[in-house]
């Protein structure tokens, strides 16, 4: 029984087709990495899954319900966007917003809610800095809190949009491990949008590769091959394995070589 089903999805902006005929199902506990160069609709796909963007055609169902009806909680971890230093918000306030920030009124903070917030903070190892203003925490600490915020409401599905961007290696690993632990303990599927597959390569089940106008889905060793990517891009592309890391060379914009130079 799948948690989410995407069927015959197409997204067009005017003349431009980002993707069409896109379909896949998410099984419990599955981690799907969405890869591909900029502008191929990775973030748009997440926005469709969140119910914030209507696809041109096709349908999305999460636990039997279209996401825009919000029958189920969907956890969302965005790109790391640093909080301003003087924002009036503590770590635990940020996490609590994930629980009831969308409700009207002041809201009574009941004992069980406090316990859930505390448990989420503990789960991501953020208890030590839960009472510090978020603007004064490091990028890695802020991103842990965002993961806690996404988990606190017990989501049926977790969507992460480049959650590792601008994090150091240790923090990257921390965030990946947290999401991995959650999908294993609670069976929550994770859709993980990233430009660099390497930080999640050890834990990923399937890969959805979005190239301009074309896509492929499958096990990483099926999709991340010179043959598949050359077919997607319609040009000679090489997938190299360098010391256990996957490097893609020869894509028209050569994004991935750039990442290697960045030392990811």
């Amino acid at each position: 029984m799948s948690i989410a089903a995407v069927d015959d999805l197409a997204l067009r902006f005017g003349e431009r087709t980002l993707f069409e005929g896109l379909g896949f199902e998410l099984e419990p506990g599955e981690l799907l990495a969405v890869l591909g160069p900029n502008g191929t609709g990775k973030t748009s796909l997440l926005r469709i899954l969140l119910g914030l963007l209507r696809p041109t055609t096709g349908s999305v169902v999460v636990e039997g319900c279209p996401p825009q009806e919000r029958c189920h909680r969907i956890g969302y971890v965005p790109q790391q966007r640093v909080f301003e230093r003087d924002v009036v918000l503590r770590g635990r306030d940020l996490v609590r917003l994930g629980l009831d920030g969308h409700r009207w009124g002041f809201g009574r903070f009941r004992h069980e809610d406090r316990a859930r917030v505390d448990a989420s903070l503990a789960e991501v190892g953020a208890t030590a800095y839960a009472d510090a203003p978020v603007g004064r925490l490091s990028g890695g600490e802020q991103q842990r809190l965002r993961v806690a915020q996404a988990l606190v409401a017990d989501p049926v599905l977790i969507l992460a949009d480049e959650p590792l961007l601008s994090l150091d290696l240790a923090s990257q690993r921390g965030v990946v491990d947290l999401l991995d632990a959650r999908r294993q303990s609670a069976g929550t599927p994770v859709v993980f949008v990233t430009h660099d597959v390497n930080p999640v390569l050890h834990t990923v089940d399937r890969v959805l590769y979005l190239a301009p106008g074309r896509w492929a889905i499958g096990m990483p060793e099926e999709v991340l091959t010179s043959g598949t990517l050359s077919r997607l891009y319609g040009t000679e592309v090489d997938v190299l394995n360098v010391r256990g890391r996957v490097v893609v060379v020869g894509t028209p914009d050569d994004q991935h070589v750039h990442h290697v130079e960045n030392g990811h």
Binding site: G51, I74, D86, V88, G105, A128, S138
Partner: protein, 282 residues
């Protein structure tokens, strides 16, 4: 002399009016500061001036003009729901035009210049009983609105992207906060005047922001600072015959400076503590 003044009815009215406006301004201020809307406050109050002088020319109650002008520009800014630099420049353009229009109305107006001066710098001792009643009603509306919208407002102020993902209607909230701000500004104009509205809406909240990271505590602090500044400003102006607006702005600014100093000195002390924490995490 001071005790005699304290027994006067108009002094009581002034103190009550100041209290109402301070509580409302201090409350909405924390959201205004969190959303970076300080410049918008200034624009809304300038347009309140335009509305008031327009009303004077037409021979109607300037307070109605204040509300009309403020609400109109509040609604437009809220509907546009612009962000960052674009909002800054749009507000600048609207503000300049509105002020020019206000100056035209002012020069067309044949009445006393003091009335316009009162609009600009406030006339708290001129508040009538009916005006006080209206201030209280409008103030209650704003506080009720803020209480109702508290959590989604906080959510969308600090984290708009996630709030939208959770179904918080950002645009509707933007319109709502701008309209509530327009009502607050129209109230504050009657106490401290167009040019000094910022002293009650921005300064207390900006000071509170320096002192605490707790949203509810910041709200309480902001209200307290606005209240103490306003009431003591009014009382001091009875002791020394200087305008109350001067005392109010000075006291709230003193709070702001003190808050910044507190924040700065705390930052110096806590630096070793952050280092320790970082080591403990590794």
């Amino acid at each position: 002399m001071f005790t005699q003044l304290l027994a006067q009815h108009f002094v009581h009215t002034a103190l009550w009016a100041g209290a109402v406006v301070a509580v409302v301004s201090g409350s909405i201020g924390v959201f205004v500061v969190a959303r970076g809307m300080s410049f918008a406050v200034h624009a809304i109050s300038e347009l309140g001036f335009t509305g008031a002088t327009g009303a004077l020319v037409l021979g109607i109650d300037p307070v109605l003009g204040i509300f009309g002008g403020s609400l109109l520009v509040g609604l437009v800014l809220g509907l546009l729901s612009l962000r960052g630099r674009e909002r800054d420049s749009a507000i600048g353009a609207v503000l300049a035009f509105g002020l020019g229009l206000g100056y035209l109305f002012f020069s067309l107006y044949q009445g006393y210049a003091t009335e316009a001066l009162n609009l600009l710098f406030g006339n708290i001792f001129g508040v009538s009983d009916t005006q006080l009643r209206n201030l209280a009603i409008v103030g209650a509306v704003v506080l009720l609105g803020l209480a109702l919208l508290y959590r989604p407002l906080l959510f969308s102020s600090v984290d708009p992207e996630i709030a939208a993902a959770r179904g918080v209607p950002l645009r509707a909230l933007s319109v709502a906060i701008f309209l509530l701000l327009a009502l607050t500004t129209a109230e504050a104009i009657q106490v401290v005047g167009v040019l000094l509205v910022l002293t009650l809406v921005i300064t207390p909240a900006a000071a509170a922001q320096r002192v605490t990271g707790r949203p509810t505590l910041a709200l309480l602090l902001s209200v307290t600072i606005a209240l103490v500044s306003t009431e003591s400003g009014i009382l001091l102006s009875l002791l020394k015959d200087w305008p109350p607006s001067f005392f109010i702005t000075s006291i709230s600014f003193a709070f702001y400076v003190a808050a910044r100093y507190y924040d700065w000195s705390r930052g110096r002390q806590s630096r070793p503590a952050t280092l320790l924490r970082a080591q403990a995490l590794e």
